[in-house]
Symmetry: D2
Subunit: 300 residues, 4 copies
């Protein structure tokens, strides 16, 4: 069986982004509208140039299905760019800090930052969102759910209890926040931070959290470092250029604590379960992989 | 050309750890004593059960060289365990929190935590240190130097200026610290933290920093997410089970800053250089890869 | 550096074939007409349903270049199908022998051979030809030339001396043969074999030869089995479903010969060369990799 | 789950051969004596320098098991060399034809064939035999059996009906042949061929056949070329340096036949089976993968 894997291609202002997802099992009814919904969500967010003027990305499945059902073949897809103007755009005079411009020009020995930035662009993540929109449907068939949301922006932090408070209606709560957080009450302060930064012709940083529920115990491997789920997810997160820090569970805070305030107790379970956990400070990853359900009993 | 890569095998109390390093070019004079010195450094650190009783790990090169010079073949090595007692050790009654015990027992469907913990053990990193001791000599042939040191332990943080202050004699300074930091003046406070934790039968967290100097611009890729150096180094760091957070440059702090306080200016260079940088907040990684030298002009 | 590699996707009667080629260095002027010429050559051959009614495949480069020059990014391309009728085609009643129909239906647990055969189709090789048309231009930049031609069809064998006889004008000779051989004098007999088989509603087998000139010595590896050029090329050849046998040099005939009639002597070279070879029975591959130039002195 | 995979290291006259097999599931009782028996079989064969003086290779499992049962961790093993004399052996004056000597010396830019031949040696296959001896036990747990035997040597061909004739006692028949064929009646002629070649200070070629029974349908993939079982097995066969030709089923003979004399009919099955096959000319591989049982009804 081919491992579930993806590849993307395409430039920011080229004709199209292309992706190939391999290893999707045959027989999966693929819901393209849900992939489009993920692409639409990617384009949301206050301060993105105005919600009124949103370009609407759409995925076009080019292969790997028949009658809406996957056939075990590689799934190729396109996310077309509205403005395929790569050949007409000017060559920037200078490389920009915080981007790959300088690295690419030196690596390939030329002086055209555009030949670098067109690929090393945030636009590339649109292809990943489409690939993930397909992968998500594979995961769901195995009872795995993945949910991401904003937790801080421009110094404004969301309520740490927002995840629990939104239990049972998280998608709706996230959709009601202009910043895709689970704490819409923080929207006003974030809007102000965005407006002030924009006025100063500056930009803002932020954090987001991703939770995966229903992972089978030991997913990845606890016997081989590079196969650990922490290694694979951590590496994937750091493949997004803007990301400068990744934390699991308590994250960097474990450096400040004693072990007794870090580890999550294993206690005999009540009812049908053989055991339960007294906390989830590890982010559901022990020894680099999920310890299995029920792994979560109370917030950290 | 085979890519430089490694594999390890071996349990904590099995007869030996084994590693295979592939892709080492032929013609490299391999200094085994330096690899042993790295293994010895791994075993240092106050609170490790006493420096007096250190087991001395040694690497034994089993293949891939002739007359001390690499021949382009896979380099296999052994780091032998003193006590090969895996078959005589008792089976723990309970899985331990913070380890792979629970994940592994459920993944493989048995009730023997020892069959899990023997491999998912910190001892495995001894094989990685040996592999890295070989890889380091390859990197040096290309002018790349990698240096790691402790920056905080048990809440005691080293002087942020320690890197600069130790310029020109960093190896010596690190060797003079019982905690392998560049700030030996912090040793006393760290010793106290360790002693107190030990008295309370507890353990401590900490942070370390690794710096790589001399990386060629664009190493990895700025055109393909999974090949980005951030993705590969970040994934490698998270393959070490105990690590819960990884940061490049400012790390999580970028979430709190405006872009103008994050990016590193590119300015016309003085002297022979075409340009220089006004800061290095990005940790020498822009768009996921090294922007090239001179990338560093002043501390963040 | 990303290794030169390819992926394809797409069904026989889906909207398009898609390919992604990664690892092409930046700065290569890409000649798309030459790729189209390879696609056209793939569609040639007497008995293919009539040369008059040839569908003309064309490659469309979707990413990875700017102004006709590669930029170091993944090159995605499309080869569009004229008839995108996958959803309207009937489901075959029975799986066909000699195809993946039966394997796929059982693997994926359904009864629709079309869901299998659409991907496991000879049409997929069109995407490989396009990918190879790009890779060929990379190889040429390193002085490597690859040339394939028919050597037998339906029991009619071409003159073994055809390669030498066509020296200096091989492309022209091959283009002059309706069967893409280097021995157009054999065309008449082959046409007759094709006509007779067609009349009997049957098909024919054949052989072809591929020669690569200018390979650097030791390409691949002689130190690691899976990296040997024989392993990689042999595996690639066998990834084409119809291929049931692959030979290098003398091939299966070595089984009948003594070693002295198999090995290629190494003798002191005349002129500027340090050595030369008395024959090339090994197909230019010794120990699984090219022994370097001048490796060829006389026909086997 | 880590894919089942192997790596080897070690030189012909170095201290030891080393292998790592990854992806072996936990819970497999590993029979080391059977691995040793495979190593012993590798050392058999008339003309090998005398059966009396056989070095006895033994595998030593270094990791990945506990109490004789695999634990899901990488299995490292050693096959020690009796004469670890690599440092004392003379450097050959000249590279040998038919070996990697010339390729390696040019690839790595030196003049020491020993530094090449020590790794590119037939001795390396001992490590593969040990790895395969482990993998075989994994396959058996899934009902897959693999059996190899000699079919021709020095122009002497075994009876094509030997496979069928030996049904039910193939291991015993093979063990009774000095050449590990299923046709011991051919031993005398083969001995004579070996004796004559030895007298002439020459060597001989031969062929062998490997049959895998019980493969699940579609193993590998019929949707992705490089994953096809033909591609992976073919590549693996060609990773053995001496192999110059690989055939599946009829092999090169398909080039001489019409399709009707190549394909294997699919007919309604008698009894409990839904269908059966009229022949097995494809070698049990259609579209590059196994079409599933019952795939075999009568010899080609």
């Amino acid at each position: 069986m081919t491992r579930l894997q993806w590849r993307t291609a395409g430039e920011s202002h080229g004709p199209t982004l292309i992706g190939i997802v391999e290893g999707v099992p045959a027989g999966l009814q693929l819901d393209v509208e849900r992939v489009d919904a993920e692409l639409a969500r990617r384009q949301l967010g206050y301060g993105r140039g105005g919600r009124m003027r949103i370009e609407t990305d759409r995925v076009e499945i080019l292969s790997g299905w028949k009658g809406g059902v996957t056939i075990g073949a590689p799934i190729a897809f396109a996310v077309k760019n509205k403005d395929s103007v790569i050949e007409r755009l000017p060559t920037p005079t200078n490389p920009r800090p915080g981007h790959a411009d300088l690295a690419g020009c030196q690596k390939w020995g030329h002086r055209d930052p555009r030949a670098v930035l067109e690929r090393a662009s945030a636009r590339e993540t649109a292809a990943r969102v489409a690939a993930a929109g397909i992968a998500r449907q594979v995961l769901e068939a195995f009872g795995v759910e993945v949910f991401g949301y904003l937790t801080a922006l421009g110094g404004v932090r969301c309520d740490p209890g927002a995840w629990d408070a939104a239990n049972g209606r998280r998608s709706e709560v996230r959709a009601s926040s202009e910043f895709l957080s689970l704490d819409p009450a923080a929207d006003a302060a974030m809007r102000e931070a965005v407006d002030q930064a924009r006025e100063a012709q500056d930009s803002l940083g932020g954090t987001f959290e991703v939770r995966a529920l229903g992972l089978p115990p030991g997913l990845g491997s606890c016997a081989s470092g590079p196969e650990r789920l922490t290694a694979r997810v951590g590496g994937a997160m750091f493949s997004i250029p803007a990301i400068k820090g990744v934390e699991f569970g308590l994250g960097m805070e474990v450096a400040e604590r004693r072990g007794s305030a870090v580890h999550d107790g294993i206690v005999p379970g009540g009812g049908a379960e053989a055991f339960s956990r007294t906390s989830n400070r590890a982010g559901g990853l022990e020894g680099g992989c999920p310890p299995g359900s029920p792994w979560w009993c109370a917030p950290p």
